[in-house]
């Protein structure tokens, strides 16, 4: 049995719409606490807490230079979470005898990614 130690913190981090928004925003480019706070209509202090939770979960990394703390996507890549969910989908499929559906989805995903490939 694998441990999946980060799952609690990460799924909790993902359960808030603001934090998912922050992750999507940081997927486009890095940003300061101020920028994030403004974009999500929230005080600096409030946004700082969200960033703290994301940082705790390893999903965001921050660095302070001068007055400004810059946030970017962190080292963890949701691999464990993707694996857990995929495993559940397989269990579910096994229970209802629909493996074909998931395999078909995976094939489509691969084709989609393949087109965007090669830098």
């Amino acid at each position: 049995m694998v441990q999946y130690s980060h799952l609690d913190a990460t799924f909790a981090a993902l359960s808030d719409v603001t934090r998912r928004g922050v992750l999507e925003r940081l997927g486009r480019s890095e940003a300061s606490i101020s920028e994030l706070a403004e974009k999500f209509h929230m005080t600096l202090t409030g946004m700082k807490k969200h960033v703290g939770i994301l940082e705790e979960a390893g999903l965001v990394a921050t660095e302070k230079v001068g007055r400004v703390r810059t946030c970017r996507l962190g080292a963890r890549r949701l691999d464990e979470e993707a694996a857990w969910i995929e495993r559940h989908r397989l269990l579910w499929a096994a229970r209802f005898d629909e493996l074909d559906v998931i395999v078909e989805e995976l094939k489509q995903k691969e084709r989609g990614d393949g087109r965007k490939k090669r830098r």
Copy 2:
């Protein structure tokens, strides 16, 4: 922009180790509240709450016959959650120019599932 309306409730449901355990257990076979409560060393009332949260998120369905409430996996299949996570993984990969890694993972997953295919 898609709405992803269930994400809050579902990720919150998944953030608890007991509830993930219940999902895995129900992936093997259905179970009563009593059975689940015993397996996870918890009062009936406590387990009932967890099941309620999973049911709210659509991940579990229950049916009461006589004294016994039977729980099984529900209609929702974590598709939205898998999609959100996969999209984040792609964003992350795009940011760090590592699309190849994820495409490779998807290919492996497909091969793995393919072997088990065909009822």
